[in-house]
Protein backbone atom coordinates (compact mmCIF):
# COMPACT_ATOMS: atom_id res chain seq x y z
CA UNK A 1 0.00 0.00 0.00
CA UNK A 2 2.67 2.49 1.05
CA UNK A 3 4.72 1.66 -2.01
CA UNK A 4 1.69 2.38 -4.12
CA UNK A 5 1.29 5.81 -2.57
CA UNK A 6 4.95 6.56 -3.08
CA UNK A 7 4.64 5.41 -6.65
CA UNK A 8 1.75 7.84 -7.13
CA UNK A 9 3.68 10.68 -5.55
CA UNK A 10 6.49 10.01 -7.98
CA UNK A 11 4.06 9.79 -10.82
CA UNK A 12 2.32 13.12 -10.18
CA UNK A 13 5.16 15.50 -11.03
CA UNK A 14 5.91 13.55 -14.16
CA UNK A 15 2.31 14.14 -15.23
CA UNK A 16 2.59 17.83 -14.64
CA UNK A 17 5.62 18.03 -16.89
CA UNK A 18 4.26 15.74 -19.54
CA UNK A 19 3.83 16.63 -23.17
CA UNK A 20 0.62 18.49 -22.76
CA UNK A 21 -0.77 21.55 -24.46
CA UNK A 22 -3.46 23.88 -23.20
CA UNK A 23 -5.62 26.77 -24.31
CA UNK A 24 -7.84 29.13 -22.39
CA UNK A 25 -9.08 31.10 -25.36
CA UNK A 26 -10.02 28.79 -28.19
CA UNK A 27 -12.74 29.79 -30.59
CA UNK A 28 -15.98 27.86 -30.89
CA UNK A 29 -18.66 28.74 -33.43
CA UNK A 30 -22.12 27.19 -33.67
CA UNK A 31 -23.70 27.87 -37.07
CA UNK A 32 -27.46 27.49 -37.39
CA UNK A 33 -28.80 27.49 -40.95
CA UNK A 34 -32.58 27.55 -40.78
CA UNK A 35 -34.72 28.24 -43.87
CA UNK A 36 -35.47 31.83 -42.88
CA UNK A 37 -32.61 32.67 -40.62
CA UNK A 38 -28.92 31.95 -40.46
CA UNK A 39 -26.92 32.98 -37.44
CA UNK A 40 -23.92 31.97 -35.39
CA UNK A 41 -23.26 31.65 -31.71
CA UNK A 42 -19.63 32.45 -31.03
CA UNK A 43 -17.29 32.21 -28.07
CA UNK A 44 -13.59 32.77 -27.63
CA UNK A 45 -13.46 31.08 -24.26
CA UNK A 46 -13.00 27.47 -25.31
CA UNK A 47 -10.74 25.69 -22.81
CA UNK A 48 -8.76 22.75 -24.08
CA UNK A 49 -6.08 20.25 -23.23
CA UNK A 50 -4.22 17.87 -25.53
CA UNK A 51 -1.88 15.46 -23.79
CA UNK A 52 0.19 13.59 -26.33
CA UNK A 53 1.82 11.29 -23.81
CA UNK A 54 -1.42 10.02 -22.32
CA UNK A 55 -3.39 10.52 -25.54
CA UNK A 56 -6.00 12.69 -23.88
CA UNK A 57 -8.07 15.30 -25.68
CA UNK A 58 -10.23 17.32 -23.30
CA UNK A 59 -12.22 20.45 -24.20
CA UNK A 60 -15.01 22.36 -22.56
CA UNK A 61 -16.92 25.55 -23.22
CA UNK A 62 -18.92 27.66 -20.78
CA UNK A 63 -22.08 28.05 -22.87
CA UNK A 64 -22.87 31.30 -21.05
CA UNK A 65 -20.08 32.85 -23.12
CA UNK A 66 -21.78 32.01 -26.41
CA UNK A 67 -22.97 35.19 -28.15
CA UNK A 68 -25.24 35.44 -31.17
CA UNK A 69 -25.06 39.21 -31.54
CA UNK A 70 -28.58 39.73 -30.15
CA UNK A 71 -28.91 39.78 -26.39
CA UNK A 72 -32.50 38.58 -26.23
CA UNK A 73 -31.71 35.69 -28.54
CA UNK A 74 -28.80 34.78 -26.22
CA UNK A 75 -31.19 34.78 -23.27
CA UNK A 76 -33.72 32.62 -25.08
CA UNK A 77 -30.93 30.26 -26.17
CA UNK A 78 -29.65 29.91 -22.61
CA UNK A 79 -33.00 29.65 -20.91
CA UNK A 80 -35.15 27.69 -23.38
CA UNK A 81 -32.73 25.51 -25.28
CA UNK A 82 -29.38 24.97 -23.56
CA UNK A 83 -30.72 25.47 -20.01
CA UNK A 84 -27.33 26.78 -18.95
CA UNK A 85 -28.39 27.30 -15.34
CA UNK A 86 -28.51 23.50 -15.06
CA UNK A 87 -26.05 22.48 -17.76
CA UNK A 88 -23.52 25.29 -18.20
CA UNK A 89 -20.90 23.35 -20.15
CA UNK A 90 -20.43 21.67 -23.51
CA UNK A 91 -17.69 19.08 -23.03
CA UNK A 92 -15.62 16.69 -25.06
CA UNK A 93 -13.26 14.12 -23.61
CA UNK A 94 -11.62 11.51 -25.78
CA UNK A 95 -8.48 10.38 -27.52
CA UNK A 96 -6.87 10.45 -30.92
CA UNK A 97 -7.23 7.31 -32.97
CA UNK A 98 -3.56 7.61 -33.76
CA UNK A 99 -1.14 10.29 -32.67
CA UNK A 100 0.49 11.96 -35.65
CA UNK A 101 4.26 12.53 -35.86
CA UNK A 102 3.68 16.28 -35.58
CA UNK A 103 6.69 17.54 -37.49
CA UNK A 104 6.79 21.31 -37.22
CA UNK A 105 4.90 23.10 -39.98
CA UNK A 106 3.06 20.08 -41.34
CA UNK A 107 -0.70 19.80 -41.03
CA UNK A 108 -1.95 16.38 -39.99
CA UNK A 109 -5.51 15.17 -40.28
CA UNK A 110 -6.55 13.68 -36.96
CA UNK A 111 -9.59 11.76 -35.81
CA UNK A 112 -10.63 11.79 -32.17
CA UNK A 113 -13.14 9.49 -30.56
CA UNK A 114 -14.77 10.18 -27.26
CA UNK A 115 -17.77 11.52 -25.44
CA UNK A 116 -19.45 14.81 -26.30
CA UNK A 117 -21.78 16.22 -23.66
CA UNK A 118 -24.20 19.12 -23.89
CA UNK A 119 -27.54 19.76 -22.15
CA UNK A 120 -26.64 16.99 -19.72
CA UNK A 121 -26.70 14.32 -22.44
CA UNK A 122 -23.54 12.41 -23.32
CA UNK A 123 -22.97 10.68 -26.64
CA UNK A 124 -20.10 8.87 -28.28
CA UNK A 125 -18.79 10.85 -31.22
CA UNK A 126 -15.96 10.80 -33.71
CA UNK A 127 -14.63 14.17 -34.80
CA UNK A 128 -12.10 14.85 -37.51
CA UNK A 129 -9.87 17.86 -37.71
CA UNK A 130 -6.44 19.17 -38.51
CA UNK A 131 -3.53 19.48 -36.13
CA UNK A 132 -0.31 21.35 -36.72
CA UNK A 133 2.74 22.07 -34.60
CA UNK A 134 3.92 25.61 -35.24
CA UNK A 135 7.49 26.82 -35.17
CA UNK A 136 6.82 28.43 -31.80
CA UNK A 137 6.01 25.01 -30.36
CA UNK A 138 2.25 25.50 -30.14
CA UNK A 139 -0.39 23.11 -31.40
CA UNK A 140 -2.99 24.50 -33.75
CA UNK A 141 -6.25 22.64 -33.94
CA UNK A 142 -9.08 23.14 -36.35
CA UNK A 143 -12.11 20.87 -36.31
CA UNK A 144 -15.64 20.84 -37.66
CA UNK A 145 -18.52 18.63 -36.71
CA UNK A 146 -22.30 18.64 -36.68
CA UNK A 147 -24.58 18.06 -33.76
CA UNK A 148 -28.29 17.38 -33.97
CA UNK A 149 -30.20 19.15 -31.22
CA UNK A 150 -32.59 16.20 -30.97
CA UNK A 151 -29.71 13.88 -30.05
CA UNK A 152 -29.16 15.93 -26.93
CA UNK A 153 -32.83 16.29 -26.01
CA UNK A 154 -32.93 19.96 -26.91
CA UNK A 155 -36.48 20.31 -28.19
CA UNK A 156 -37.11 22.32 -31.33
CA UNK A 157 -40.70 23.58 -31.35
CA UNK A 158 -42.47 23.42 -34.70
CA UNK A 159 -43.24 27.14 -34.53
CA UNK A 160 -39.58 28.09 -34.68
CA UNK A 161 -38.17 25.46 -37.03
CA UNK A 162 -37.68 28.17 -39.65
CA UNK A 163 -35.67 30.30 -37.21
CA UNK A 164 -33.43 27.68 -35.64
CA UNK A 165 -31.80 24.72 -37.37
CA UNK A 166 -31.94 21.20 -35.97
CA UNK A 167 -28.42 20.68 -37.26
CA UNK A 168 -25.80 22.88 -35.64
CA UNK A 169 -22.46 23.09 -37.47
CA UNK A 170 -19.73 23.47 -34.89
CA UNK A 171 -16.27 24.84 -35.72
CA UNK A 172 -13.36 24.74 -33.32
CA UNK A 173 -10.27 26.85 -33.74
CA UNK A 174 -7.65 26.76 -31.03
CA UNK A 175 -3.97 27.42 -30.42
CA UNK A 176 -2.72 25.29 -27.56
CA UNK A 177 0.47 26.26 -25.78
CA UNK A 178 2.82 23.74 -24.18
CA UNK A 179 2.37 23.37 -20.43
CA UNK A 180 5.59 24.04 -18.57
Amino acid sequence: MRNLIIAFLFFLPSLAFSQSFKTESGEAIFLSKAPLNEFTGESEKLKGLIDLEKNLVDFYLDLNTLKTGIGLRDRHMRENYLETDKFPFAEFTGKMKSIPALNTGTTYPVAVVGKFKIHGIERNVEITGNLQKTSSGNLELKAKFDILLGDYEIPLPKLVFYELAEKQEVSINATLKPVK
Partner: protein, 290 residues
Amino acid sequence: MMKKLAVFAFLMISFSSFAQLERKLENENQPVDLIFHAPRHINILTVEPLDKKSMHFAIMHTFGTLNGGIENLFGLDNGANIQFSFEFALTDKLSAGISRSSRDKVYNLYGRYLLLEQTQNDKMPFSLSLAGGAGVNTSRYDFLPEPAPNFSERSSYFGQVMLARKFSEKISLQLTPMMAYFVDPRSVYQIEGDQNFYLALGLSGKFKVTDRSSLTLQYIPNLNSDLRSNVGIGWDVEAGGHVFQMYFVTSQALNEQYLLAGGNGVPGEEFRLGFNVNRIFAIGQKKRKY
Protein backbone atom coordinates in the same frame (compact mmCIF):
# COMPACT_ATOMS: atom_id res chain seq x y z
CA MET B 1 -5.89 1.21 6.90
CA MET B 2 -8.78 3.67 6.56
CA LYS B 3 -6.35 6.54 6.71
CA LYS B 4 -4.25 5.03 3.96
CA LEU B 5 -7.34 4.51 1.87
CA ALA B 6 -8.28 8.12 2.38
CA VAL B 7 -4.85 9.24 1.26
CA PHE B 8 -5.10 6.93 -1.71
CA ALA B 9 -8.53 8.32 -2.60
CA PHE B 10 -7.22 11.86 -2.29
CA LEU B 11 -4.35 11.04 -4.61
CA MET B 12 -6.73 9.45 -7.08
CA ILE B 13 -8.79 12.63 -7.08
CA SER B 14 -5.78 14.86 -7.62
CA PHE B 15 -4.61 12.39 -10.26
CA SER B 16 -7.88 12.70 -12.16
CA SER B 17 -7.90 16.48 -11.89
CA PHE B 18 -4.49 16.46 -13.50
CA ALA B 19 -5.88 14.34 -16.29
CA GLN B 20 -8.91 16.43 -17.20
CA LEU B 21 -9.42 20.16 -17.12
CA GLU B 22 -11.41 21.41 -14.20
CA ARG B 23 -14.76 22.78 -15.37
CA LYS B 24 -15.02 26.40 -14.28
CA LEU B 25 -17.63 29.04 -15.04
CA GLU B 26 -16.28 32.11 -16.81
CA ASN B 27 -18.41 34.35 -14.60
CA GLU B 28 -19.40 32.97 -11.21
CA ASN B 29 -21.96 35.73 -10.78
CA GLN B 30 -23.82 34.88 -13.96
CA PRO B 31 -27.03 36.94 -14.07
CA VAL B 32 -30.36 35.16 -14.12
CA ASP B 33 -31.93 35.12 -17.57
CA LEU B 34 -35.42 36.34 -18.37
CA ILE B 35 -37.09 37.11 -15.07
CA PHE B 36 -39.90 38.19 -17.40
CA HIS B 37 -40.39 37.47 -21.09
CA ALA B 38 -40.13 41.12 -22.17
CA PRO B 39 -39.46 44.67 -20.94
CA ARG B 40 -43.25 44.89 -20.46
CA HIS B 41 -45.51 42.64 -18.47
CA ILE B 42 -49.18 43.33 -19.30
CA ASN B 43 -48.96 47.13 -18.71
CA ILE B 44 -46.02 47.51 -16.34
CA LEU B 45 -42.40 48.04 -17.31
CA THR B 46 -40.20 45.23 -15.96
CA VAL B 47 -36.59 44.89 -14.84
CA GLU B 48 -35.80 43.03 -18.07
CA PRO B 49 -32.85 44.98 -19.53
CA LEU B 50 -32.07 45.73 -23.14
CA ASP B 51 -28.60 45.09 -24.48
CA LYS B 52 -26.57 48.01 -25.72
CA LYS B 53 -27.44 49.00 -29.28
CA SER B 54 -30.75 47.24 -29.29
CA MET B 55 -34.22 48.67 -29.52
CA HIS B 56 -37.42 47.41 -27.98
CA PHE B 57 -40.49 48.08 -30.07
CA ALA B 58 -43.88 47.41 -28.56
CA ILE B 59 -47.40 47.84 -29.89
CA MET B 60 -50.02 47.64 -27.17
CA HIS B 61 -53.79 47.64 -27.60
CA THR B 62 -56.69 47.57 -25.20
CA PHE B 63 -60.23 47.33 -26.54
CA GLY B 64 -63.73 48.07 -25.22
CA THR B 65 -65.32 46.15 -22.37
CA LEU B 66 -66.23 42.52 -22.90
CA ASN B 67 -69.75 42.86 -21.51
CA GLY B 68 -71.14 44.12 -24.85
CA GLY B 69 -70.98 40.47 -25.88
CA ILE B 70 -70.83 39.15 -29.42
CA GLU B 71 -72.81 42.15 -30.75
CA ASN B 72 -69.73 44.34 -30.21
CA LEU B 73 -67.38 41.41 -30.77
CA PHE B 74 -66.46 41.49 -27.08
CA GLY B 75 -65.36 45.10 -27.15
CA LEU B 76 -63.30 45.01 -30.34
CA ASP B 77 -65.90 47.23 -32.10
CA ASN B 78 -65.58 49.93 -29.47
CA GLY B 79 -62.24 51.15 -30.64
CA ALA B 80 -58.85 50.50 -29.16
CA ASN B 81 -56.43 52.52 -27.18
CA ILE B 82 -53.16 51.91 -28.98
CA GLN B 83 -49.67 52.67 -27.74
CA PHE B 84 -46.52 52.49 -29.79
CA SER B 85 -43.25 52.60 -27.93
CA PHE B 86 -39.62 52.61 -28.94
CA GLU B 87 -36.99 52.11 -26.29
CA PHE B 88 -33.32 52.41 -27.16
CA ALA B 89 -30.55 50.92 -25.05
CA LEU B 90 -27.77 53.44 -24.53
CA THR B 91 -25.81 50.96 -22.40
CA ASP B 92 -26.55 47.47 -21.12
CA LYS B 93 -28.29 49.09 -18.16
CA LEU B 94 -29.66 52.42 -19.32
CA SER B 95 -32.32 52.92 -21.95
CA ALA B 96 -34.44 55.81 -23.18
CA GLY B 97 -37.84 55.51 -24.75
CA ILE B 98 -40.64 57.39 -26.43
CA SER B 99 -44.22 56.24 -26.51
CA ARG B 100 -47.44 57.55 -27.90
CA SER B 101 -50.83 56.34 -26.78
CA SER B 102 -53.99 57.27 -28.64
CA ARG B 103 -56.03 58.02 -25.52
CA ASP B 104 -55.69 61.82 -25.24
CA LYS B 105 -52.83 61.53 -27.78
CA VAL B 106 -50.22 61.40 -25.05
CA TYR B 107 -46.52 61.40 -25.89
CA ASN B 108 -44.25 60.09 -23.16
CA LEU B 109 -40.49 60.35 -22.88
CA TYR B 110 -39.04 57.96 -20.37
CA GLY B 111 -35.87 56.33 -19.12
CA ARG B 112 -35.16 53.03 -17.44
CA TYR B 113 -32.06 52.07 -15.49
CA LEU B 114 -31.08 48.64 -14.19
CA LEU B 115 -29.44 49.18 -10.83
CA LEU B 116 -29.00 45.61 -9.57
CA GLU B 117 -29.22 42.30 -11.39
CA GLN B 118 -30.18 38.98 -9.80
CA THR B 119 -27.45 36.34 -10.13
CA GLN B 120 -27.78 32.58 -10.49
CA ASN B 121 -25.68 31.96 -7.38
CA ASP B 122 -28.03 34.24 -5.38
CA LYS B 123 -25.23 36.55 -4.30
CA MET B 124 -27.63 39.19 -5.56
CA PRO B 125 -31.08 37.80 -4.79
CA PHE B 126 -33.14 40.27 -6.86
CA SER B 127 -33.05 42.75 -9.70
CA LEU B 128 -33.81 46.42 -9.13
CA SER B 129 -34.64 48.99 -11.81
CA LEU B 130 -35.77 52.59 -11.83
CA ALA B 131 -37.98 54.23 -14.41
CA GLY B 132 -39.32 57.72 -14.82
CA GLY B 133 -40.78 59.88 -17.51
CA ALA B 134 -42.74 62.90 -18.60
CA GLY B 135 -45.72 63.09 -20.90
CA VAL B 136 -47.83 65.64 -22.71
CA ASN B 137 -51.45 65.41 -23.78
CA THR B 138 -51.69 66.66 -27.38
CA SER B 139 -55.45 66.39 -27.90
CA ARG B 140 -57.22 69.43 -29.36
CA TYR B 141 -59.46 71.22 -26.89
CA ASP B 142 -60.76 73.95 -29.26
CA PHE B 143 -64.34 72.92 -28.51
CA LEU B 144 -64.11 74.01 -24.90
CA PRO B 145 -65.75 77.28 -23.88
CA GLU B 146 -62.80 78.06 -21.64
CA PRO B 147 -59.24 78.45 -23.04
CA ALA B 148 -57.56 75.19 -24.00
CA PRO B 149 -54.93 73.96 -21.51
CA ASN B 150 -51.41 75.16 -22.16
CA PHE B 151 -48.36 72.93 -22.46
CA SER B 152 -47.65 72.85 -18.75
CA GLU B 153 -51.27 72.09 -17.89
CA ARG B 154 -51.16 69.19 -20.33
CA SER B 155 -48.10 67.57 -18.80
CA SER B 156 -47.87 64.68 -16.43
CA TYR B 157 -45.00 62.75 -14.87
CA PHE B 158 -44.35 59.30 -13.50
CA GLY B 159 -41.72 57.51 -11.47
CA GLN B 160 -41.43 53.92 -10.36
CA VAL B 161 -39.11 51.39 -8.78
CA MET B 162 -39.16 47.79 -10.04
CA LEU B 163 -38.02 45.10 -7.64
CA ALA B 164 -38.14 41.61 -9.11
CA ARG B 165 -37.00 38.12 -8.37
CA LYS B 166 -37.09 34.87 -10.28
CA PHE B 167 -37.98 32.49 -7.46
CA SER B 168 -37.74 29.35 -9.52
CA GLU B 169 -37.66 28.30 -13.14
CA LYS B 170 -41.42 28.82 -13.16
CA ILE B 171 -42.22 31.68 -10.84
CA SER B 172 -41.17 35.34 -11.06
CA LEU B 173 -42.62 38.26 -9.14
CA GLN B 174 -42.18 42.00 -9.36
CA LEU B 175 -43.12 44.70 -6.85
CA THR B 176 -43.50 48.13 -8.40
CA PRO B 177 -44.14 51.17 -6.21
CA MET B 178 -45.46 53.71 -8.73
CA MET B 179 -46.35 57.35 -8.65
CA ALA B 180 -47.84 59.76 -11.14
CA TYR B 181 -48.35 63.52 -11.12
CA PHE B 182 -50.73 65.52 -13.28
CA VAL B 183 -50.09 69.26 -13.36
CA ASP B 184 -53.74 70.00 -14.07
CA PRO B 185 -56.02 66.93 -14.05
CA ARG B 186 -58.99 68.39 -15.92
CA SER B 187 -62.25 66.52 -16.21
CA VAL B 188 -62.05 66.74 -19.99
CA TYR B 189 -59.02 64.44 -19.92
CA GLN B 190 -59.88 60.78 -20.22
CA ILE B 191 -59.00 60.02 -16.63
CA GLU B 192 -61.34 59.33 -13.74
CA GLY B 193 -59.17 60.77 -11.00
CA ASP B 194 -59.19 64.47 -10.10
CA GLN B 195 -56.12 64.48 -7.87
CA ASN B 196 -52.72 65.74 -8.94
CA PHE B 197 -50.71 63.03 -7.27
CA TYR B 198 -51.28 59.29 -7.40
CA LEU B 199 -49.52 56.53 -5.54
CA ALA B 200 -49.91 52.82 -6.21
CA LEU B 201 -48.18 49.51 -5.71
CA GLY B 202 -47.92 47.30 -8.77
CA LEU B 203 -47.70 43.56 -8.33
CA SER B 204 -46.73 41.46 -11.33
CA GLY B 205 -46.49 37.69 -11.47
CA LYS B 206 -45.32 35.23 -14.06
CA PHE B 207 -45.99 31.53 -13.89
CA LYS B 208 -44.22 29.60 -16.62
CA VAL B 209 -46.48 26.91 -18.04
CA THR B 210 -44.47 25.67 -21.00
CA ASP B 211 -40.92 26.48 -22.12
CA ARG B 212 -42.16 29.43 -24.13
CA SER B 213 -45.38 30.58 -22.52
CA SER B 214 -46.51 31.84 -19.17
CA LEU B 215 -49.60 32.78 -17.24
CA THR B 216 -49.31 36.46 -16.24
CA LEU B 217 -50.95 38.46 -13.49
CA GLN B 218 -51.12 42.14 -12.63
CA TYR B 219 -52.66 43.87 -9.64
CA ILE B 220 -52.21 47.59 -9.00
CA PRO B 221 -53.94 48.78 -5.83
CA ASN B 222 -54.17 52.57 -5.57
CA LEU B 223 -52.75 53.79 -2.29
CA ASN B 224 -54.04 57.37 -2.09
CA SER B 225 -57.21 57.52 -4.15
CA ASP B 226 -60.68 55.97 -4.16
CA LEU B 227 -60.24 54.70 -7.69
CA ARG B 228 -60.66 51.00 -8.27
CA SER B 229 -57.55 48.88 -8.43
CA ASN B 230 -56.26 47.56 -11.72
CA VAL B 231 -56.51 43.81 -12.23
CA GLY B 232 -55.10 41.94 -15.19
CA ILE B 233 -54.62 38.32 -16.15
CA GLY B 234 -52.96 37.15 -19.31
CA TRP B 235 -50.81 34.85 -21.33
CA ASP B 236 -47.29 35.52 -22.69
CA VAL B 237 -45.94 33.57 -25.64
CA GLU B 238 -42.44 33.67 -27.09
CA ALA B 239 -42.60 32.96 -30.80
CA GLY B 240 -39.35 33.36 -32.69
CA GLY B 241 -38.19 36.89 -32.02
CA HIS B 242 -41.56 38.18 -30.82
CA VAL B 243 -43.17 38.08 -27.44
CA PHE B 244 -46.95 38.18 -27.70
CA GLN B 245 -48.93 39.17 -24.64
CA MET B 246 -52.69 38.66 -24.51
CA TYR B 247 -54.62 39.69 -21.44
CA PHE B 248 -57.84 40.76 -19.81
CA VAL B 249 -57.53 43.96 -17.87
CA THR B 250 -59.83 46.42 -16.10
CA SER B 251 -58.41 49.59 -17.64
CA GLN B 252 -57.90 50.85 -21.16
CA ALA B 253 -54.97 53.00 -20.06
CA LEU B 254 -51.56 52.06 -21.40
CA ASN B 255 -49.05 54.64 -20.24
CA GLU B 256 -47.96 54.86 -16.63
CA GLN B 257 -49.72 58.10 -15.64
CA TYR B 258 -53.05 57.03 -17.09
CA LEU B 259 -52.69 53.59 -15.56
CA LEU B 260 -52.80 55.21 -12.13
CA ALA B 261 -55.27 58.05 -12.77
CA GLY B 262 -57.40 56.48 -15.49
CA GLY B 263 -59.76 54.45 -13.31
CA ASN B 264 -60.76 50.82 -13.61
CA GLY B 265 -63.87 48.79 -14.28
CA VAL B 266 -65.24 46.11 -12.01
CA PRO B 267 -63.10 42.98 -12.43
CA GLY B 268 -65.08 40.22 -14.13
CA GLU B 269 -67.80 42.54 -15.44
CA GLU B 270 -65.76 45.15 -17.22
CA PHE B 271 -62.72 43.31 -18.37
CA ARG B 272 -61.21 44.39 -21.64
CA LEU B 273 -59.18 42.40 -24.07
CA GLY B 274 -55.60 43.61 -24.43
CA PHE B 275 -52.85 42.61 -26.77
CA ASN B 276 -49.14 43.54 -26.86
CA VAL B 277 -46.54 42.67 -29.45
CA ASN B 278 -42.91 43.05 -28.30
CA ARG B 279 -39.91 42.83 -30.52
CA ILE B 280 -36.23 43.55 -29.96
CA PHE B 281 -34.16 44.85 -32.86
CA ALA B 282 -30.40 45.02 -32.91
CA ILE B 283 -29.30 48.38 -34.27
CA GLY B 284 -25.91 49.42 -35.54
CA GLN B 285 -24.83 45.81 -35.86
CA LYS B 286 -24.29 43.58 -38.82
CA LYS B 287 -26.81 40.93 -37.87
CA ARG B 288 -30.22 42.49 -37.87
CA LYS B 289 -32.42 39.47 -38.21
CA TYR B 290 -33.63 37.58 -35.23
